[in-house]
Amino acid sequence: MIRKITYGIFLGIIVLSLILFFAAFPFGKNKMAVGKYYLKNDINQTGAANVVTAVTLDYRGFDTLGEVTVLFAAATGVAILFYVLEEDKKKRERQVYPNFVVRVGSRIIFPFILLFGSYIFIHGHLTPGGGFQGGSIIASGFLLLYLAYPGERVNRSKLSVVEGIAGITFAGLGLWGLFTQGNSFLFNFLPKGQLNMIFSAGILPIIYIAIGFKVASEFAGIVDDMMCEAVCSGGEK
């Protein structure tokens, strides 16, 4: 109890001082210089209508590559932790079917979720959204399928092929720019096109589509590991 009160008071002091400190940093006023620069030069330099996309993929594209790598490492880590031998899996498998409405409803909705997710990541450079959002929407579609059919599993090898191709596309595009143009990794070597058209912003849409596939397959893999852990290996005994 003394610990709770002590740390409560400590945290109170911290929050109070932080609020006082941030009072000198007015809300909704000034902007950082780098943001202004990006906003001013976005159309000329990248041609993407969505500035957030431009920052994520072009100005800070290398950062995003690292981030995708972290995602990959986390997904691999989950898969390693939940590694179960195939024979054990089959032994423990038990079929649980939810009711009729969920099963049929998920079948009808699932294609639309896929379509919606793809729409979001294909238009990532024009409208809000992009590879991360679209990919996670697709993964939540997979989650719905798992809820409806707990006994079934997706084909992991196909997922990993999709993921690998997406990753190679990202890195390959970057290296292509590096070696042909010779100035920087992820150099935007395709034509910029016209603003607000679907074929614009050079390599950004391609990369965002690759990221969409990668995020979708990785999160689907995580969900698959988790669901299998809950359903087919039956650890509660």
Partner: protein, 626 residues
Amino acid sequence: MDMSLGVLLATPFVGGILAYLGGKIHRWVRYTFAILFSLLAFIEIFFFYNTTVGNYVWGRLFGSVLVLQINPISWIFAFIVTGISFLVILFSINDVEGHKGLDFYYLELLFVEGAMLGITLAGDLITFFMFWELMSWTSYFLIIQGGKKSITAGYKYIIMSVIGAYSMFVAIAMVFGRAHSLVFKNVSMLLSQSSPAFVIWFFVLFGIGLFVKAAVMPLHTWLPDAHSEAPSPVSPLLSGVLIKMGAYGLTVLFYGFLSVQLIGKLAPTILPTPLLLYIVEWLAAISIVLATFLAILQEDAKRLLAYSSISQIGYVVLGIAMGSSLGIAGGLFHALNHAIFKSLLFFVIGGVIYRTGTRNMSELGGLIKKMPVSFIGALFGIVALSGVPPLNGFVSKWMIYEALLQKKEVFLLIMAFVGSTGAFLYLYRFIHSVFLGQLPEKYKDVKEVPFLMQLPIWILSALTIVFGIWPGLAMNVIAQGEKFLGITPIKYTLYGFPQGTAMSSLKVINISSVLIIAFIVVLALYLMLPKERFVSQYDTYAAGQVVTPETKYNYSYGFYMFFGRVINPIFKWSADKMYEAWARATKVFGDYMRRVYTGNLETYSSYIVVLITIVAFVLLIGGKLW
């Protein structure tokens, strides 16, 4: 002419990939591709004999061009690389037959060759570094295929290599920050205009990377383990070629990037040699002496040869660091010679291991009757290594001694002599314990190695004679190379060296003919004189007991134990022990640190919260932190 350098560099890589894919079809497809492409690379090398081709741009990176070039200096090393690699592949075919993952093995072998070729052909620092790293990693994968112990050895190797490579990388980054172009010419121009401190930093950092690969004394500890635990066809490649890359790098560093005058300006010059080079000379001399002593004490034949490699590479570095025309020529020539005779010796011991399955010298003996070709190879190898005329080791060692004499560096000369004399001790031990003496009972049915494994032994034995009697063949290229580096080229004739200023002449042909005549005379006497009676080696007795085949009466275990007792106090402080002590100290320190870093999330977060609270409280009451 321009594309040809790219073709030359691509040959081993293409060959490796084709051998890998071909191995999926049939093993002979794999062997054909491997042999064909390594031979092709060796032949292509000869198109570049005595030519200087520069600036073949093969790519660009970070706004800097990637350049390939060839000059006589790199030609010598490229010649060693391709030649020895070809022989290694020939030798591998029988030796590693039936092992697992052979496709990958040949892929790696050819990739190591390609990487080393890339180092010699590199015309800018980025290319150099790329191939340097490729060489480290591919050779690491080769080393760890030698069995259980080799994994530890490979671990040691790769850790030291990576440390060296990082140090080199820092040096390259330093230059890149100032020059923005890493072509060798620009680098040397930048260094000639930079401040002495910058150049010394570059010299030290770049040098550490090279010293690790060349295994100069305090950084040598990876070599004995890696060379002795690697598969037997890989050891010649490592000992004969890979450590020469360090020597090549040192040559480029000393005389390509810098020059003797420039190094002389960096630090006060009291001695005949610039101070930095003088330090390098001393390191090399220390590694000659200590490695020789260590080699004398070894029981394991491959380990003995590995320590001998450290000592011989010491001669190479000593010669190169000397700065005089004769010294550099001697160093480069010794690099070539060492590649020849050390590969020869490793091939021989590889054949012995192939037939007997052991490399422990105290278990071997008396193989002369069973494996005569290997014995002849070993004989040529040890005669060449110990520097006795008429074989090639003599000429290069003579050149190094002569150069030391000219510079009046007496201590170094003594140390070089000690190393050479010590070489007799361990080489005698080597040939005696393996080939002479009593044949153990279990090796009664040992046969000579197959033809493909004999072939490298024959070729290299012949080469020791060729370069021993006609050193001018090699001097031709070396003199061109020295001209390329901007040093006065040495004078030479086909058979030796003419009388020059402060330089005595050497005519190998005279010495050789005297020796050959003497040999013929002795042979004639031996044949003419009455024959002694041949007795079985068991037809003897010791202390009243009849010797049976089970008793060993040649003392090949602890052969130089008396000598070991004398020199053991020196090795109380070895570099290996120093590194181990460092590792232990780190571990103890870590154990203490764990009392603070408990590994619990809440401990850490409460540290953070308490600290921030203090800071926030001080700021809240209006105090100042600093």
